[in-house]
Symmetry: C2
Subunit: 557 residues, 2 copies
């Protein structure tokens, strides 16, 4: 209809790998009816978000428009697409559409948060569709590193939009649906207004490989190994769990699942019928009765997570199992940038035990779940969209992906988080910018990334802390000496005297001679004491710490 | 002589890439005369050492035996071999032998620390030697990613030891000496008792490549680029600076050096005569007068260091220069594990500006300074040592390196930091373990890594802080309410009340009814208040913070 438009608005995922959250809208500007695609998380790190549990997109814009949200769609069950559901859904409260395996895991998440699963609506694969306001949406199966991944076919008054979800082009993925070029081609046959497309691997030049290709190498590795063999991969990569477990079985080894997520995923895949056959697993406590060279441990923690099974095995005995000289441990995984140190810590700890550690440096034991550059080109050519909107990737990935269609008659736009794009016409138009950002789950609360809470913790980590206490009597004169406590600072400075004593002495001296205008003014007094504490610390230890000053004033009765 | 032995003892570098510090000794057990090879640093990170300036090996063992140290040798000027000199030398005070370029930079470091360069003794290349107690030592030139790198020929009463230093086998390194197999072969001709050998790249399967190989690709890249072209690499890689600058010059561009280390290294190389020719550089302030497409910026910060020039350029204007759409920026470097996030931050920020960023993913624009696996094999075959001691590497590198000589008639031992190896005989014997570890330069002080100072800062970063102040009157009764300050915690909890108020209320209530045995005992009282503060925080924000309690007691006059 005249005056209406189709908009695309990433709130998360377009500027990072992780934290996916995309919005589509159709209607008159400012009155569009909306659907939300994915509610994902990103993971914290010490550099930028110490002590934080999870990171998610700031959905303030959506919450203000909650009455315009027709539905939420979750493309697949990876944490960076599903992980924020239980945390953000209570603010959105729209029906959630997803496939069965995804719904299984989503239901667990909601239950853990004390939320019922009444909002979850399981959908079958395309051509099944659901209507959500101006949109009709179906789940188009696609191969990825988790079962039942799907792209979304989003039919709009303006035409068909294809939201790829995360995907790879695997003709033989082991578990779940293979990529079906005929099916995707048929969906595109009537024309695609916009392809909104995964960019994660846009910088990888070689073509993607199939899960089926690594089975023989894994089997050869496991069959050739002497002692106990362990391996780690993403627990949600059910196809890989199967590939590894079958390789182990063929090599005459019993499979032991280590880590809650590992057991949970296999159970989910069996319960939902995704996984046709998985070797019967041995409980860790039964493993002791089996010869070591007949065991295969499948452990969580491929990213070096310190509380996962792989890290526990690297530290020592875990559930009665211990790796030692002559054993083999395989990382059937890629290390996500930023996790290198944690992964190498495990590798080195295992190396100290004499364990042979194998990673994927030869490309033999892992394949990526994302479409590489040639695969993206194949999808562009197959879908022939009017408009390409690269999504899910850091800015460098989005940029590289957009550059790929130059000269192909496809109009591309780089739209980072918060960029609203009008995709009504033949070319994408920037329609505005929405205030966006990140929210931290910190303990049990959601706090804004810019609220200063985490920034203060980073300062404490970098600078250490001096706490100053001073008591002022009823006449606003110091009562006794100032008192100093340190945290995260050396006890003794250059002069060899305790740092706290040195600061206390200077503070007390100052208090004794400070004039009344300062002594009666909390702000001035605190500022003066802070300045002195920092100055003494700088002299003594060459560092300017954070300083908190507490001035207590006794009141005349 | 009978009863004497030759020992090797790594105190740093054998268990990490960085922080090199090796000890050799000869004499009766416990009375060996010692030499020290390299005094290097490692770099801190937020995960393990927030707020720390530098990390170095704990040299307590050496300091206790300082009277037995004959000399210190520095193989080359990289920070992980030289960086601790100014910090640790005052505790060792032995003569320091090094080559001219290394001495130039060492002198600057000592001068900055207010230490004269009287201990520095410049040595020429092999066959020049110096005698240090039972050792006669010479600097054997070798190619590496910094000028005048050298292995050490260490002649001992037991035979010849070859300490490789960091090295690669480059027949055409551009700057400094090429690897000379005839020279190394001649040194080995009389037999090598032990080869102590760089392991950094033991996990890299392909043969190393020469610096000369990347010149043409760099020139093609720069010549083909449109706007302003910038590049970053390690400032100390003088050969690369030259390769890049010559490529830029041939492409008709003037070179601008950005970053203090970049200018300092070029100056040092010119002053010491290492660098025969370097294109005349343009000062940043002169650059504005030149067309952008005639400029080439050579910037510090290849590892993403936030205060270096590359990061500054990614944030915006730097010294009047600004990168924008159509410009190109090259990382002519490898990202050291752990620095990925910082490097990608720059890449993405430049991508947002529309800058084309090129890294070394194609292997075109960077070659490593370390010997890869085939190169290490070539050195083993050339030197034919009795004993191989892999050094400089994480445990996984040492292990891989040691495994390479299995079946070759060379005895290898994996000796991590603190492992004393007796290399007197035909096979290495573990002679003991020395307490070792890491020391942090924190501000201006050296603090032990296990002193708890940094651990407390990490706790503050993860958990946030509650500061509790309570004042007790002369009768040991609470005077007024407890006072709470927060740092790094949300202000408001689940109940919507200010968290500080909630904690204060519970603390005050407790104080009002606490019995005298607690109120009169500082430890008990602090523990009780801490427990309550943590419990309220857990209820309100789902987090258990660090709690510092200050109880002030008014004294009866």
């Amino acid at each position: 209809m005249k005056g209406e438009r189709l908009i695309y608005l990433p709130l998360g995922g377009a500027g990072e790998v992780g934290m996916n959250l995309y919005v589509y809208g159709h209607g008159r500007p400012g009155r569009e009816r909306l659907i939300v695609v994915d509610l994902g998380v990103a993971f914290p790190d010490m550099d930028g978000s110490p002590g934080v549990e999870l990171i998610m997109a700031d959905i303030a814009w959506l919450v203000e428009r909650a009455d315009r949200i027709e539905a939420i769609f979750i493309t697949h069950a990876h944490e960076d697409h599903l992980g924020a559901l239980a945390h953000l859904w209570p603010q959105l409260k729209a029906p959630v559409h997803l496939r069965r395996f995804t719904a299984h895991l989503a239901g667990q998440k909601l239950a853990e948060a004390g939320i019922g699963d009444g909002a979850l609506h399981v959908m079958g694969p395309w051509p099944e569709t659901v209507t959500a306001g101006p949109f009709t949406v179906g789940f188009l199966p696609i191969s990825h590193s988790i079962p039942e991944s799907a792209g979304l076919v989003i039919d709009t008054p303006v035409g068909r939009v294809l939201h790829s979800g995360d995907f790879k082009l695997d003709p033989d993925p082991g578990v779940g649906e293979a990529f079906d070029p005929d099916l995707w081609g048929a969906v595109a046959a009537g024309g695609v207004q916009a392809l909104v497309c995964d960019s994660t691997n846009a910088l990888v030049d070689r073509p993607g490989r199939s899960e089926a290709e690594i089975g023989p190498a894994l089997e050869a590795l496991i069959a050739g190994a002497g002692g106990l063999v362990g391996a780690t991969t993403f627990a949600s990569n059910v196809a890989r769990l199967r590939t590894l477990a079958l390789a182990a079985e063929r090599a005459g080894r019993r499979v032991v699942l280590l880590g809650r997520a590992m057991r949970r995923m296999v159970e989910a895949a069996l319960e939902t019928g995704i996984l046709d056959r998985f070797p019967p697993v041995l409980q860790p406590e039964e493993a002791a009765e089996h010869p070591r060279e007949r065991l295969f441990l499948l452990a969580t923690g491929s990213q070096g997570e310190r509380r996962a099974a792989a890290a526990a095995l690297s530290r020592g005995r875990y559930l009665g199992l211990e790796l030692k000289e002559g054993d083999t441990f395989l990382f059937s995984s890629k290390t996500i940038p930023g996790n290198e140190r944690d992964v190498l810590r495990i590798w080195n700890a295992l190396s100290e035990k004499g364990v042979e550690v194998i990673d994927d440096r030869g490309g033999l034991y892992h394949v990526s779940g994302h479409a590489n550059r040639p695969d993206l080109e194949a999808i562009h050519d197959l879908m022939r969209p009017k408009i390409l909107l690269p999504m899910h990737g850091e800015h460098r990935h989005l940029r590289e992906h957009a550059g790929m269609v130059a000269g192909k008659g496809i109009a591309a736009a780089i739209a980072a988080n918060g960029t609203m794009v009008d995709v009504t016409g033949d070319t994408p138009k920037i329609a505005g910018h929405v205030e966006t950002g990140r929210v931290y789950l910190d303990g049990a609360l959601l706090v804004g990334a810019l609220d200063g809470v985490v920034r203060d913790r980073i300062r404490l980590a970098l600078n250490g802390l001096v706490m100053v206490t001073a008591i002022m009597d009823e006449d606003d004169r110091p009562l006794g000496d100032a008192w100093v406590e340190l945290m995260g600072l050396p006890e003794t400075g250059k002069t060899g005297r305790p740092l706290a004593d040195r600061i206390e002495a200077d503070l007390t001296e100052y208090l004794d001679r400070a004039d009344e205008r300062v002594l009666t003014d909390d702000d001035k007094l605190e500022e003066a004491l802070r300045r002195i504490a920092r100055q003494v610390a700088m002299e003594e230890i060459g560092k300017k710490p954070e300083v908190v000053v507490v001035v207590s004033r006794l009141m005349a009765d």
